[in-house]
Assembly symmetry: C2
């Protein structure tokens, strides 16, 4: 009577070096996406075509330490065995770090989350070749205090239309940033850490580019208020910082029931 | 009368991600070496075939923050302009970080130096894809105190025949290590830093592999004394740690006269 195994939904925590990939989301006729690699590894492991649904569709070149994806399976493989089993089938620059079973109606994009991103700056006049893949080089002196002052105006709920790509298709451009912190990690390294409930297209990279301009003295920290008020990307002189400096560190799901 | 420009010898400080290269030293019919790339950049810049002489012939896959190389030139390019001028001609994973004029008889391998190497360990059960290129993953727990205790027996002048490749062609296998320090940099990262006056072939990688075995509990720290005394690589159960975890951080030249 018990011949049909129960279907489980499994949530994976996924880390990757995005350098070689055209972003997270699967693309027609382009196998070089994180999602396509996860699909291929799962399909090979389970012997049946399986597709993941990702939590964050990171851009081409963006990295992750803690992106997430779910898939459904009727296999009897114990949940805790999925990371090692999938990692033997994945390329070295994608690693499944953890797996847990979640309820069958859990959707990683239709639930409230807090995402933490880090933007890394290689702040020296000649780029460090060992950080070329993971940091944006900025040769100019950066005033960290000014950057934090500018960042303080972005914290809270605002209309971030001036901080998102003009190509956004979001219904609303209101978002809440819970925290931004700019720290000089070493003499040559500056980290911008941004936490919030969902982000618009290119939003963290535009925040990083705007804070870099504030750090160089080309934007006054108080100007951020006017830039926000303009609700217009072209009113923001901050550039979109390159993708390679951005890493999605973590996603916290507020309503995640363990099964 | 002053038509023939004076010949200068210039010392470059060179950093590189060694992942894509077959080591530092130029090889016949193999253009993927650091030396060949430096030669090509200098030759393109100066318009005349120019070859560098390197300080340390790092192995295939080994990285550097501060390797060094000299070349001779009769060009009138100011010494301080060489880094930027060469970096426009070099691939992004090789950077010239500094240049200075040295005396015409300075040879970077025929002078006493102190070299500092760092071996990086990614100490977690699932490898971090953002450190895959620069660290060796060790999933086992490592006892840092034991590693430092084992390292203490290596400091000083010894015959390091048990810690060098059997393929060494060195006349003597006596070397002096001035310092070894093992630190847990973060919860997941262990750094082994080794300083000394010249090293034998694979010596730092064998030291790293031996200290990892000590950290796992498979070698007792005091055994290092017997391993040294054996003067035989096969008497050392320590493995040769993979090249990608090794970075040449710095070379200090003891008799470097500034010109």
């Amino acid at each position: 009577m018990n011949r049909i195994p129960a279907k489980r939904r499994i949530l994976l925590s996924v880390a990757y070096d995005g350098t070689a990939y055209h972003g997270f989301a699967r693309l027609k006729e382009d196998p070089k996406t994180i999602e396509a690699e996860l699909d291929a590894a799962l399909t090979a492991l389970l012997g049946v075509r399986t597709e993941v649904t990702g939590a964050s569709r990171t851009d081409s070149g963006v990295h992750a330490m803690g992106n997430a994806a779910v898939f459904d399976t009727v296999s009897t493989i114990p949940t805790g065995n999925f990371p090692d089993a999938l990692n033997t089938k994945l390329p070295y620059d994608i690693r499944v770090r953890a797996a847990r079973e979640v309820s069958g109606d859990f959707h990683p994009r239709h639930t409230d989350t807090i995402k933490t991103y880090r933007y890394e700056i290689d702040n020296e006049s000649i780029a460090d070749p060992l950080r070329y893949r993971y940091a944006m080089q900025v040769g100019h002196e950066l005033d960290i205090e000014r950057m934090n002052k500018a960042a303080s105006f972005l914290i809270g709920e605002h209309d971030f239309k001036s901080f998102c790509s003009v190509h956004t298709q979001a219904k609303t451009t209101r978002r809440e940033i819970t925290d931004i912190e700019v720290v000089r990690k070493t003499e040559q390294t500056v980290y911008i850490t941004v936490r919030g409930h969902g982000f618009l297209y290119n939003m963290v990279r535009i925040i990083a580019g705007t804070l870099i301009e504030a750090g160089r003295g080309r934007i006054e920290p108080q100007e951020i208020m006017e830039i926000l008020k303009a609700e217009d990307r072209t009113a923001n002189p901050g550039f979109t910082a390159v993708a390679k400096g951005l890493t999605l560190l973590d996603i916290e799901f507020s309503e995640l029931e363990e099964k």
